[in-house]
Symmetry: C2
Subunit: 147 residues, 2 copies
Amino acid sequence: MNLDSTDEKILKNLMMDARQSARQLALKLGMSTVTVLSRIKKLEKEKIIKGYTATIDHEKIGYSLTAIIEIVAKNDKIVDMEEEISKFENVCGVYDITGSTDTIIIAKFKERNELSKFVKGLATIPNVENTITHVVLNTAKEDFRLT
Amino acid sequence: MNLDSTDEKILKNLMMDARQSARQLALKLGMSTVTVLSRIKKLEKEKIIKGYTATIDHEKIGYSLTAIIEIVAKNDKIVDMEEEISKFENVCGVYDITGSTDTIIIAKFKERNELSKFVKGLATIPNVENTITHVVLNTAKEDFRLT
DNA sequence: CCTGAAATTCGCACCGC
DNA sequence: GCGGTGCGAATTTCAGG
């Protein structure tokens, strides 16, 4: 599916502020409410818009610890392993990558010992051969909106 | 600032669907519209809610290539370097980490040669000593909502 | 923190371009 | 396919308790 410039403008605006009405958006973009609304519906239907979420300041609600963990797998059923890891609520990202390790994950925790428990828990998952944990000292950017 | 269970419920629900009215939310949670609305306003004011965004299917709009890039820095002014890197629109995450490399970044691209150009561009940034690029073969999870 | 009513705003359908 | 108008419904806001 390809988007025209109208779709792109709408997407861009909804990424900046998902809580604005079709009317407001139409006003801003200089087109009719109907057009904006029907485009949004179309984008939702085609699952280009997957949903709308509030962006939370993780640190302010207590998630002060971010970790990036590399995983070396025993060489079969990596997909199953990744699915298993994805189930954890602390886990924000799970990527299957090229290079010397197989999988890299990003996870967030409130306490140091939660991270500790988590890493120990990883070792019990089938196919996890080895893990390398990196603690994030500073997050310079974390914004998955793409314009 | 600490949240009570009402705040948490509201946050959780807004993370699931940012485009629902305070009234709907109040109905679901069994409290009044006014209460919900004033809590939301409070959470916005305290910047616990940083904003509201539409979640987009990156692959469907053409970002089919994700890369994770490790960076080794010359050992001063890492912060400046990270700020510089954060400016790129393709860059979704920039993390300062412990371990053998200094910084790890996540970036998304539409084309293979965009990635290529990007990595070459990195080398020209002051303080970038060396980069290691991992191509993401599969994204098992990418969801930075924390309950 | 809730109730209730006022005032605003919204979404959608209809119609014309 | 896009835009304008209008109406019923839904939403926020403002009182008072």
